[in-house]
Amino acid sequence: MINWSLRQLASALAHKQVSSVELTQTFLDRAQRYNRELNAFITLDPERTLAEARAADRRIAHGNTQPLTGIPVALKDIFCAQGWLTSCGSKMLHNFVAPYDANVVEKLKQAGAVTLGKTNMDEFAMGSSSESSHYGPVHNAWDLRAVAGGSSGGSAAAVAARLTPAALGTDTGGSIRQPASMSGISGIKPTYGVVSRYGMIAFASSLDQGGPMAKSAEDLALLLNVISGYDARDSTSLDRAAEDYTRDLDQSISGLRVGVPKEFFADGLDADVASAVQAGIAELEKLGCKLVEVTLPQTRLSVPAYYVLAPAEASSNLARYDGVRYGYRAPEYGDLRDMYMKTRAQGFGEEVKRRILIGTYVLSHGYYDAYYLQAQKVRRLIAQDFQSAFERCDLIVGPTAPSVAFDLGAKISDPVQMYLGDIYTIGVSLSGLPGMSIPCGFGQQKRPVGLQIVGNYFQEARMLNVAHQFQQATDWHTQMPAAFS
């Protein structure tokens, strides 16, 4: 049962082969049992979760079922969910119980899903290893010595170890795709504006995008059907007709032009990753895709541009955490200024403080033009690169990350090394394009490798089609870490 797809689970529930309470209890038991090793969850609240499962069973009994009725889904702790601690992995919000539901949480509830728990993450989603959490690092389900990837590492580890059938994550510069890659699962970041950001705690507003993380492309499509759509409470949400992301899953991908950017296979890509990704691309070719070499010349500028723009927005987005109205406040302080300083010094971790400082600096008088405006120009150039590439191909494929999951602690003291690991995902984020990662093999120490698929705006259905066809022909996505079976 723990390996069943969402369709199989929905069918079993609808046919009353299993109740939501039984199903939910199974995953809750696993989550509680394995969380000691993985630290994938910040909050598990079995009573609250089981109450939702019981309510789902009542609806099933009345024949009133929605696509996800009774199926547990875990939420990255960045999503506000009414009554749940919503810490965003930070001491700053260690006591913040959300009084409202994020738009995607509302949508999951309307679709009948049961909230399994809140997953661990890098503090305020700032990180690529889920080590910067106030609640301690997440461990990789395939190798507990390794990081799970980040920032949605808790969601990735929970899906990988089958502690939940599926989870939601968020992606600002790769935070869904990279942990999916390192944890051997599937994850998709939709086109910017497809999923509402309302109730998703902001890191960098112009980049943040929520998305599903699951075992297969088919599950991703089902989840994306539920969580996507216009939301009047988010000005950047796109007002367009609803799509059925499952519609193209079974189509042939023969004749599809797949672009392979040469910059993604240059220096910096580990050999084990390169060979797994090349094998994955060869598989696509076998399925009839035509390979096209494309170029994304500004790739090397994507990391510096991102690490100006994202911190700039973050420095402002995180100003509200001041100890005045909610969240952490320093226990002792003198005047107002002292209260601010102590609260923020104690409430934020190192990486968050580093980014607030960078962001404050690049927005400062006299530096704004040289950094912020310059980075915005680079951002436009990067987006143009992708548009030029898409004139020659339908989709772009390549590695999601330059390496497999690294050891815990290996990069924590070297932020630049950590940032460079985002090189293949960041350009997609800066361009607002949809990107996904699916498992395509294993590298060193049998740690998973992800294949990244990037589409043009609103090409999610096509990307999911390719991923699904790949997964019909391969079994990388069905493998799970032996320690949790």
Binding site: Y198, A202, D234, S235, R325, L363
Partner: protein
């Protein structure tokens, strides 16, 4: 040395929308603290702003009223600073691209016409309130006002006296009320001014160092603060000192301005475009929609009064000083279509001065436009003289009765019966032979004596033109 003061004003007009600039919470004044603060207003994690269309429409209305340029694409920007009554740690405002640029405001100061150019007007949200009293060493925060929509209207440094600044502020105040974008309530803070004041030697072209004076929530404070600040700067310069660029606070109790913060401790607000809000696009359709909803704007009305009704520029300006006065005048004038000037003279003259004296707004005038028109009609048809009309006007004011009632009841009808007037004149001529001799010897002054006597005998009701004519005739004999 002769000095010249240079003044520019920044005015915050609270827009009269039902809900806030970026949230659905109510903007009603006076609610219990924090009862009108939504999740967005208190800046909970994860919430997002949505621009209020009503506020945008009001900004467009303002642009149309001052002949400003409406930017079809303007940008909301974040102004970052920490303060407990600023929940997000930034204020959403407009910086590089405001919704309105340019435009002007024209008015009269005494008899001289003045035009003040506007730099810009932009949309922004208000902060909350910090309450420092009654919390024993702590401060209370009330976020009801946080997020209230404001239009910040920035003038050029075009004013040269406190009187001009006050006249500008009054004209602007009347305008925003006229076009119904702001209730203008200064006690509640719906209309507040900051003044940028500098002085320079008369004839000098370079501007002096300016100080920004804040907390001017009445026209009187605005005037007092500028007068004080001008004097302070002149005295400082004449004593060989230098004006330091700073923000100063006006203290009405002491009638002085005090330094609040200098340029050195000025914040670096780190403005940048708000990534939560798309650029604000204003379409032709929206502008047309706003325009269609507008009644005749003050400028257009002023021109019409001047060119179609033949009023002086001054009267036209006076009668369009606010919507109520214009409405009153138009009601009187439409009842007397042949005599717009007579209507203008009375509304701008007798009525206005009486209203001023008693400190009553024209909308609460005890004499209605129809009643005033009734009085003017009796002047026009010679039932009463202009002089008697002023007395009838006073009686109307006191009693609420119509002009006709008073004229009849109190016998104020003008005597135009020539045989009656001739009889009266004959009696006077007969009774005053000495003055007759004086007049006939060439002393023209003596004529006035006879006019006075005739008026006295008729209790002022004699038709003055007729009395003159009869007197000339009789005295010439």
């Amino acid at each position: 040395m002769q000095w010249e003061v240079v003044i520019g004003l920044e005015t915050h007009a609270q827009l009269s929308t039902v809900s806030k600039m970026f949230s659905g919470a109510s903007t009603q004044f006076g609610g219990a603290p924090n009862t009108q603060a939504s999740a967005v207003d208190i800046a909970l994690p994860g919430v997002l702003p949505i621009a209020n269309r009503g506020a945008v429409e009001r900004a467009i209305r303002f642009a149309l009223a001052v002949n400003g340029t409406i930017n079809r694409r303007s940008i909301f920007a974040r102004k970052n600073y920490f303060y407990p009554d600023l929940p997000k740690g930034y204020q959403i405002s407009q910086y590089e691209l405001p919704i309105v640029q340019g435009g002007s405001i024209a008015f009269f100061v005494e008899q001289h016409e003045k035009k003040v150019n506007l730099t810009r007007a932009h949309l922004e949200e208000d902060a909350g309130k910090s309450l420092h009293e009654a919390f024993h060493g702590m401060s209370g925060i009330d976020l009801n006002r946080a997020g209230t929509p404001l239009l910040e209207i920035v003038s050029e440094a075009d004013m040269r006296s406190a009187a001009e600044a006050v006249a500008y502020a009054r004209t602007l105040h009347a305008l925003v009320r006229w076009i119904d974008i702001c209730d203008g309530n200064m006690q509640e803070g719906s209309f507040r001014c900051d003044a940028n004041v500098s002085v320079r030697p008369l004839g000098e072209r370079k501007l002096g160092t300016r100080c920004e004076v804040k907390n001017l929530n009445s026209f009187r404070f605005l005037e007092r603060a500028i007068v004080f600040e001008t004097r302070r700067q002149i005295e400082l310069l004449e004593d060989g000192g230098k004006v330091v660029q700073e923000t100063r606070l006006y203290d009405p109790d002491r009638d002085e301005t005090r330094s609040m913060r200098s340029k050195e401790d000025a914040h670096d607000y780190r403005y940048f475009p708000d990534p939560d809000l798309l650029p604000l696009e204003v379409s032709d359709a929206l502008i047309d929609h706003v325009r269609a909803d507008l009644s005749e704007l003050p400028n257009a009305k002023r021109n019409r009064f001047q060119h179609e009704l033949g009023l002086s520029r001054y009267d036209a300006a006076l009668l369009t000083a606010n919507r109520e006065t214009a409405g009153y005048f138009e009601a009187v004038a439409s009842a007397l279509p042949q005599h717009p000037k007579l209507a203008a003279n009375w509304v701008a003259g007798e009525l206005s001065s009486r209203l001023n004296k008693e400190d009553i707004g024209i909308e609460r005038s005890p004499i209605s436009p129809a009643a005033l028109a009734g009085l003017l009609r009796r002047i026009d048809d010679n039932t009463i003289s202009g002089k008697i009309a002023k007395e009838v006007f006073d009686r109307m004011w006191e009693t609420g009765a119509s002009a006709d009632e008073i004229i009849e009841r109190e016998g104020r009808r003008q005597i135009s019966d020539s045989s009656e007037l001739e009889r009266i004149v004959d009696q006077i001529v007969e009774a005053n032979p000495a003055q007759v001799a004086e007049y006939r010897s060439g002393k023209e002054k003596a004529f006035n004596f006879f006019v006075g006597q005739a008026m006295k005998a008729t209790k002022g009701q004699a038709n003055p033109a007729q009395v003159n004519e009869i007197l000339r005739k009789k005295l010439a004999q």
